[in-house]
Amino acid sequence: MIAENTQIQMRKGILEYCVLSIISKGEIYASDIIAELKRAELLVVEGTLYPLLTRLKNNGLLSYSWKESTSGPPRKYYQITEEGLHVLHRLDETWKELVYAVETSVAGRNKPNEEQPQ
């Protein structure tokens, strides 16, 4: 259970970072974000994305515009805002720090285990 909680927490943070990054590349539609995430092998269902997008939008990190669609109702296209870009840059830095922290902590972890298997 603890492992699962930690996994959820880890994924949660990373999902936001990934979604922001994907949107920062240009205007994008929600189901295309899903496609990008699938390509990145970060498995989510569409239902998880909408609450996240709404929250990011309400915090001023995203904006959206309605566009006509050939199939079905008009679509919401998301776009990153100035503030969103600012947050994304800060996240980039944090991510680098995290990668460094994890790499340093993980480095050499397997060695002693191999020598002294429990």
């Binding site: 994924r11 989510v44 269902v45 569409e46 239902g47 998880t48 609450p51 199939s71 109702p73 679509r75």
Partner: protein
């Protein structure tokens, strides 16, 4: 030939099969419940509805058809993910406690479903096994044993096959197996309480926590098992009663028709044949329908099956009321036959004179 329903999602009109509509409706209700506590639930729901509308439009254009089928709805739900998927991945919760709540309730709502991954006939046994935490082979053996009791096992199996839905999506299968992180709240508050105590207790704490969660789990499971056993007993009782009533009804009808048998329902001989048959059928229905209702309720409670179709339940009500009225009518008819007035007059000469002379003497 299927009946279709016209729905409108964000002012786009779709024709949808009745069965598919039921599934979609319960899915949307689940989602609404899930997001009810979060902020901006309206906007999120609107986004989801919009997307569903779009996916339906795509289906209609691609398939060159006019009606949304059950398959389409399942496909959309798979892509959108069920509420359980939202819980697992990254959910929007207002507080930590809420998450514990929803996880506990998700575990509590372990669903009884047919398991398509491990099946011999319909996957009923392995689904039951997953539900009760037994290995599928034991459930199969139990069913096989019941087959020899006048085919009870067969009847039960057939009913369960119809009633239990097939676990299709990943979330369905998870729900079928049911994670057991219940008592999270209990354990959490217990640990918080202990943290305020002496740090030396930390080792004991973990041991006690382990013990309590085990005991709690055990008691909880035992209680549930007990309730389920009673439920199943009622279920079997109802099924047997209905079966008995049917057999009795057939027996009495053959009796009325004049076949050689010992079964004659008292009073039916007073009625003409066709009325007697009607009376017997009405009587059987009047008793069997409440038992069938009880059976249905138990099935719903135990296995969280779908509610009954409104038309079916209304039809059953009407049938029941009609049969009760018919029973009363035929009883009165039968009673009429016995209504014969007769008087018996008996005159007896009493030896009065001796007694009178005795009293006179005393006076």
């Amino acid at each position: 030939m299927n009946k279709t329903i016209i729905i409108n999602i964000n002012s786009i009109v779709f024709h949808i099969e009745e069965e598919a509509y039921e599934v979609l409706r319960s899915y949307m209700i689940d989602i609404k419940k899930h997001f009810a506590k979060t902020q901006d639930s309206e906007e999120i729901l609107m986004d989801i509805e919009n997307r569903i509308a779009e996916m339906f439009s795509e289906k209609i254009q691609q398939g060159k058809k006019e009606v949304i089928s059950l398959e389409d709805v399942h496909h959309v739900i798979e892509q959108m993910g069920t509420v359980n998927d939202f819980d697992i991945e990254a959910e929007e919760t207002t507080s930590q406690e809420h998450r514990y709540d929803s996880q506990a309730s998700a575990a509590f709502h372990k669903k009884l479903m047919r398991n398509p991954d491990d099946k011999i006939l319909g996957g009923v046994c392995s689904g039951l096994g997953a539900y009760f935490g037994l290995e599928a082979k034991w459930v199969r053996i139990i069913f096989l044993c019941f087959f020899f009791f006048a085919g009870t096992g067969f009847m039960l199996y057939a009913v369960l096959w119809v009633v239990m839905p097939l676990a299709v999506t990943r979330a369905d299968k998870l729900a079928m197996k049911g994670e057991m992180p219940n008592l999270q709240n209990f354990k959490k508050s217990f640990e918080e309480e202990l943290q305020s105590l002496d740090p030396h207790l930390s080792k004991a704490k973990s041991e006690i926590a382990k013990g309590t969660s085990f005991c709690g789990n055990f008691i909880c499971k035992l209680g549930k098992l007990f309730a389920q056993v009673i439920g199943i007993a009622v279920l079997i009782f109802c099924a047997m009663t209905i079966l008995g009533l049917l057999i009795g009804c057939v027996g009495f009808i053959t009796g009325v028709l004049g076949y050689q048998n010992e079964m004659v329902f008292p009073g039916t001989e007073a009625l003409p044949t066709y009325q007697a048959i009607l009376a017997l059928v009405a009587g059987t229905l009047a008793i069997a329908i409440p038992f069938a209702a009880l059976l249905h309720i138990m099935l719903r409670l135990l296995f969280k099956t779908k509610p009954m179709n409104t038309y079916v339940s209304l039809g059953l009500w009407a049938t029941w009321i009609t049969s009760v009225i018919a029973v009363i009518f035929f009883s009165l008819m039968g009673a009429q036959e016995y209504k014969e007035s007769s008087t018996i007059k008996v005159e007896k000469e009493l030896a009065v004179s001796a007694a009178l002379s005795f009293f006179r003497k005393r006076c």
